[in-house]
């Protein structure tokens, strides 16, 4: 197995395109586990941690741009980002443990394409856009279009996700992410829900977006959520409708981590609770 540590994106793209079966390495918290267990044996790993720009967080006129190799700990340490996107950053901060946080990257979490990836529902709720560079040049897609199934992505051969763009937020906006794990850390979501809200001055919801995770082969956008939430103040009946919609949208499986029935119920509970948290945060947000 080869190890390459290119200094530029072009070199990384060239290496990925020419070595069949090469894998991108950022934090390695998923890939190294796969290598050790024998479930992956790539011809090469291409380490992107040393490529300029992939490990930085920047704030521009468009919003926040987070390099794909930025770790969870770097995300949760970034005060302005945490202020603007409390939900996305709390999702990134939930992955693994303190030690894992030092390495696990945002790009890796999304591109590993686990249905249970914690950041994906939060990024979906945030309308995050993934910026991709490949042999054919640069393109941008909504984050929900990256994973196509467990462990599968829409990335073409040689393509690398280089960054995520979180759009500029209006006033009175906030987000939240919640997941259910049987433990308190070092675990994988049985269900997860990310909610992003923008409020009107009177406290009614002006804009809403909800992503749910671990309840289908990929994280899902809850398309009907704005129709339920916009114009309301999250009254109990509204929350109940949201919970039911999330449960109905879920297409979960029975497995060792939870039953279909359990996941449907809990994803609704999480959507409801995340919405309440996002709402409270948005009320206090500038």
């Amino acid at each position: 197995m080869q190890y390459q540590s290119p200094a530029s994106i072009d070199e990384a793209v060239a290496a990925l395109a020419t070595i069949g079966g090469a894998r991108v390495l950022a934090g390695g918290t998923d890939l190294l586990v796969q290598l050790r267990s024998g479930s992956a044996s790539p011809a090469a790993v291409i380490d992107i941690k040393n490529i300029a720009g992939l490990r930085t967080i920047s704030e521009t006129a468009e919003g926040f741009r987070i390099g794909a190799a930025v770790s969870g700990a770097e995300i949760t340490d970034h005060e302005a980002l945490v202020r603007a996107w409390p939900g996305v950053t709390e999702a990134a901060g939930l992955i693994g443990s303190t030690q894992v946080q030092g390495r696990a990257s945002l790009g890796g979490n999304v591109c590993n394409a686990s249905p249970a990836a914690d950041t994906t529902p939060a990024l979906i709720a945030a309308r995050a856009v993934a910026e991709i560079i490949g042999p054919g040049g640069r393109r941008s897609i909504p984050v929900e279009q990256i994973a196509t199934g467990p462990g599968k992505t829409s990335l073409a051969s040689g393509e690398i996700v280089v960054s995520f763009l979180l759009p500029k937020r209006p006033a009175r906006s906030a987000d939240a992410y919640l997941r259910l794990i049987p433990r308190t850390e070092m675990d994988i979501a049985v269900a997860g829900a990310g909610v992003s809200l923008t409020l009107n001055e009177d406290g009614t919801i002006a804009d809403a977006r909800v992503g749910i995770g671990a309840v289908a082969p990929t994280a899902l956008v809850l398309d009907g959520a704005p129709g339920i939430l916009v114009g309301t103040k999250l009254e109990d009946a509204v929350l109940e409708k949201l919970a039911q919609m999330a449960g109905a949208a879920a297409r979960p499986i029975d497995d060792k981590r939870g039953t279909i029935d359990y996941r449907r119920k809990v994803v609704g509970v999480l959507a409801k609770r995340a919405a309440l948290i996002a709402y409270e945060r948005a009320k206090g947000a500038r």
């Binding site: 433990r183 675990d187 981590r257 939870g258 359990y262």
Partner: protein
């Protein structure tokens, strides 16, 4: 040796443990830290089937693979003569062990070793495993204990006839053994009861979950002399099992104990060591083998899953009149579950006139179970202590008062035979009742559970040597691996007898050629039994030093006393310190060394009562432990911090077992959660600080009053948590674990039942 109260200077204090700095700095050497020049890597090919006939094995391609130096299969490990090796709480059948080490005509579980390879690298060894061709005929399998007992269940062993049943059955079955403990007349007892409650419980197989996977290095020399470096709970049992498997002499195998990263009973047998020796013998090179976590979970230890029915009757005044319990344990692939302990000890905290407790040892298609901290007792207590809680509610009695009313005390006859000596059960209960924890008010969806537990503790064979160094320091030589702070407690007892600081005594756990045979570290026996050996060896050294002082002073030894680390002239002012005596040792008769080798009896049982507060999230079924306090009789806490540590550790393992730990098998009998991600032990952030309250009712059979403490604390948590869930929600859960999906389903079922009236 008997207990006598004395004023103590070292015992009961909290010095830094001798092995602590090495462990926290990473210097301690564990099993996989050892390396030899020219060393090969051994790797094991394991059955992917839960139950199958092995039709053929072809190792030709693996043998021809470049870098492969040896390949072995079951054909290379002839069955040893029938026999049993005692390893603490486990009796190891040597022929079953051989069949477990390497399968022969049948594989009995997912992970059962079929062949092993030694090669010049780990990667090549793994490649070679892929080249071994095995033809299996897959057989129906059975894992659930109740299913395995049915007449039409898939049969694991066609030569297994139930023991303990008269007349002996004419047909083989999966029921290896029936055990019955009884006294009085249970039906008469139930007739006297005003209330009788009968409930059925199930628990899943769980693993010891030691952090350090099994590992070893073996080096088998041409002259038949060999060494093994490994971490275990007893270098002597490793030696004895290895020499039995390989037909070696005891003096030909030196087993060197590495530091151990947890055992909890699971490291009192061999999985790798005989294979590493065979591979080393075959290749002429040292061989290292280590397990992955997946191998550990699939093929070592687990502890029995169980199915239990408990029926208990009580009178209106709270007197328990009768108890009948039936307990069925998974034994794994071969007979020998710890069901006996569940049978003997589930009712042991109480004095109940009429008892009938029956246990079944049942083979199933999972790895052969092995000892896990108070083996069997938590299962039995889960059933027994939960029915007691229901009775207390029905009788409108405080659950602590109800237990106290029925508590066994000194002079009560135990269910398993002997009459109890001094016992701390009542003291634990009253301490719990008066503790601030018991008085805190709980909020909505919060509940409190009470449960008690019992562990017998054992004594056994231990040896110790006390070497007096010229500078007055002491080298304490012992043979029991330290899994819970025993080096510190043994050194402290030595220091107490000598009248010096604990830091002046340096304990070492030595190899099998450097001290007499010691039983394994198990049964909570080391601080008790090895403690007695250490005290006797130290007293031997003191006697010798008094003799030397007498010689130096030219007086009779009767005129020499001992105090504060020095010989004292009784009728004068002269004194000689240890170092003053040691420096003259060459001239007064040679170097000074005290020694003792004993077989200790009279281990005092440890009783314990736990209080658990928890909160149930009614929408997700997730349980959060809010507060937990354990009260336990330690006899005498030699080093209170490590007694507290044992209590906290046992509680935490019990909490994990109660909430999330379970073996999950797919439809083919393959273990689905062979890793710590989905075999969910608790992490630190899951738990509150576990409060430990040490009760001291001295054990009359130990010089300082010590009782074993390591195992009792895992006994009550399953029931304490079940009882607290009831208190929080009004729902009784009787099938472990109480994982969020199961709790939510139970809450919803209860709601539905309520709605339907």
């Amino acid at each position: 040796m008997t207990y006598e109260p004395k004023s103590l200077k070292v015992v009961g204090t909290r010095p830094v443990r001798h092995d602590g700095p090495d462990k926290v700095t990473g210097r301690a050497n564990y099993a996989s830290d050892f390396t030899l020049p020219g060393m090969l890597w051994g790797s094991i090919l394991r059955s992917p089937h839960a139950h199958a006939k092995v039709i053929s094995i072809n190792t030709d391609k693996a043998r021809a693979h470049p870098g492969v130096k040896a390949v072995i299969t079951g054909a290379d490990l002839p069955l040893p003569p029938p026999g049993v090796t005692q390893a603490g709480e486990s009796a190891i059948n040597t022929q079953h062990l051989a069949k477990n080490l390497l399968a022969r005509d049948k594989v009995f579980y997912d992970g059962h070793p079929v062949a092993a390879v030694a090669a010049i690298s780990e990667a090549i060894a793994r490649e070679a495993l892929g080249l071994i061709e095995i033809e299996y005929e897959v057989l129906p399998h059975v894992i659930d204990v109740d299913e395995a007992m049915k007449a039409d269940a898939p049969l694991l062993h066609d030569d297994l006839f139930t023991e303990g049943v008269e007349p002996r059955p004419e047909t083989p079955s999966n029921i290896a053994k029936r055990i019955v403990v009884s006294k009085g007349d249970i039906e008469k007892g139930f007739a006297e009861a005003d209330i009788v409650i009968e409930r059925t419980y199930t628990t899943k197989a769980v693993h010891q979950g030691y952090i350090e996977p099994q590992g070893c290095v073996a080096n088998y020399a041409e002259d038949g002399q060999a060494m093994v470096w490994c971490s275990s709970q007893g270098q002597f049992v490793i030696r004895d099992l290895c020499i039995t498997m390989l037909g070696m002499e005891a003096s030909s195998l030196k087993v060197i104990p590495a530091e151990i990263g947890g055992g909890f009973g699971g490291k009192t047998t061999v999985y790798l060591e005989p294979l590493a020796l065979m591979l080393s013998k075959a290749s002429g090179r040292p061989v290292k083998m280590t397990m992955s976590r997946g191998e550990v979970l699939r093929a070592t230890g687990p502890h029995s899953g169980s199915s239990m029915t408990a029926r208990i009757g009580a009178m209106k005044d709270g007197t328990i009149t009768s108890a009948e319990v039936v307990i069925k344990f998974q034994a794994g692939a071969f007979p020998g579950s710890p069901v006996g302990a569940a049978v003997m000890f589930c009712s042991a905290p109480y004095d109940i006139p009429n008892l009938s407790i029956t246990g079944y040892d049942v083979v199933v298609n999972i790895a052969k179970v092995h000892a896990y901290r108070a083996p069997g007792a938590p299962n039995g207590a889960f059933a027994f202590e939960t029915v007691l809680d229901e009775l207390a509610h029905e009788l409108k009695m405080d659950p602590i008062d109800f237990r106290a009313k029925n508590s066994a005390v000194e002079g009560s006859k135990s269910p398993y035979g002997p009459t109890y000596g001094p016992l701390g059960g009542i003291e634990c209960l009253s301490s719990a009742k008066n503790h601030p924890h018991y008085k805190v008010n709980l909020g909505p969806n919060q509940g409190r559970g009470v449960a008690s537990g019992f562990w017998i503790n054992i004594g056994g064979q231990s040896a110790a040597t006390v070497v007096v160094n010229r500078d007055g320091t002491i080298s304490l030589v012992e043979g029991c691996p330290d899994i819970g702070g025993s080096r510190a407690s043994l050194a402290m007892m030595c220091a107490e007898v000598l009248g010096i600081a604990a830091e002046k005594v340096r304990p070492s756990i030595v190899d099998t050629t450097a001290i007499a045979f010691n039983d394994v570290t198990g049964g909570s026996r080391v601080t008790f039994a090895t403690g007695i050996a250490v005290v006797q060896a130290t007293e031997d050294a003191v006697r010798q030093m008094r003799e030397r002082a007498a010689k130096m002073w030219d007086i009779d030894v009767d005129q020499v006393g001992w105090r504060d680390g020095a010989a004292q002239e009784m009728n004068g002012n002269r004194s000689l310190t240890i170092s003053q005596i040691a420096q003259k040792a060459a001239k007064t008769g040679g170097q000074i060394m005290g020694h003792a080798s004993i077989n200790a009896s009279g281990a005092g049982p440890s009783l314990t009562t736990h209080l658990c507060d928890l909160e149930v999230d009614r929408e997700t079924g997730k349980i959060t432990i809010l507060r937990y306090t354990a009260f336990q009789d330690a006899g005498k806490a030699v080093h209170p911090s490590y007694v507290e540590g044992q209590m906290q550790g046992g509680v935490v393992q019990g909490i994990g077992w109660a909430l999330n730990e379970e073996y999950i098998h797919d439809e083919n009998g393959r273990l689905e959660n062979a890793g710590f991600l989905d075999y969910r032990m608790p992490v630190a952030s899951d738990l509150p600080m576990i409060d430990a309250v040490i009760i001291e009712v001295p054990n009359p059979n130990h010089p300082f009053g010590v009782r074993g403490v390591g195992e009792a604390p895992i006994v009550p948590p399953l029931a304490a948590i079940a009882n607290a869930i009831y208190d929080a929600t009004g729902v009784r859960m009787r099938d472990l674990p109480f994982s969020p999906p199961k709790v939510l389903a139970a809450l919803e079922a209860a709601e539905k039942a309520k709605a339907n009236g």
